[in-house]
Symmetry: C3
Subunit: 109 residues, 3 copies
């Protein structure tokens, strides 16, 4: 089987933003996304706390990843999440190069 | 310390496929893998639902990642997972370039 | 918006090492990190078990990721985690290239 270049978008955001972010992803042409519960500290997490235990055990954050078959769609998802969600709320977005089998399974404009 | 090129395989699949996928990874020569509970939507998740809450809170999916010290082993793991697991069930596989310390800790043929 | 090159460090370690690893990250100049509960098998997980169920459901491991705006800081975090945490305990570290918006949000020396 042949591997094809694709692009992954990772979004780390407050859990309350999940629905809005998922709508942006759905509208982008992407075929799906994966959500993982997360905790942490910093500009991309709600709670700045000195108690490490809660940082590690309190999952008020989500890590959403989506793979699309072209760079433009990935960048558009990132731009829209930052513009529409991270004006008032904290969060980060980053892109990564990936290689996929069966690229038709991954949407994009 | 010196960083060495290595390859990561990420598999997103229904939780019920975990055992089969882990056996493929074990047989590949990889030294280990990491499993994270996940939810989501799309061709790589079982449930297509209009209820976002369940998408975000129902973790019927797993995200398995494994790092190996060569591209061939990574591609073989990906090929076998797609051939043996994703003929009947949904799921995705992608590869990424990574850099590791102590490459001897990461198996591969 | 413009995407800028940055570096991600991923650390997979026993949960009991979380506090020590977070202190190393905080001291590096990074602006934050994300922690996800994980399970698994291998040199980077505590428990070698033949029972797959517990591998998939027992989250005694954490997957910590941190994005910084330069390679040197990323490598230093990786070096220090290996030297200070993985002498006695198992775990792995790997680096990845990423692209970020708003690079000022990601610290580094």
């Amino acid at each position: 089987m042949t591997y094809h270049k694709a692009k992954k978008v990772v979004i780390i955001a407050e859990k309350m933003l999940s629905e809005k972010i998922c709508r942006i992803i759905d509208a982008s042409g992407a075929r799906g996304y994966t959500v993982v519960p997360a905790g942490g500290r910093g500009a991309h997490h709600k709670h700045y706390t000195s108690e490490r235990a809660s940082v590690v055990d309190d999952f008020a954050t989500v890590r959403i990843e989506v793979v699309v078959n072209n760079k433009t769609t990935a960048e558009e998802i990132g731009n829209q999440v930052v513009e529409q969600c991270f004006d008032k709320y904290s969060g980060i977005v980053y892109l990564e190069d990936v290689e996929v089998l069966r690229p038709g399974k991954f949407g994009g404009k």
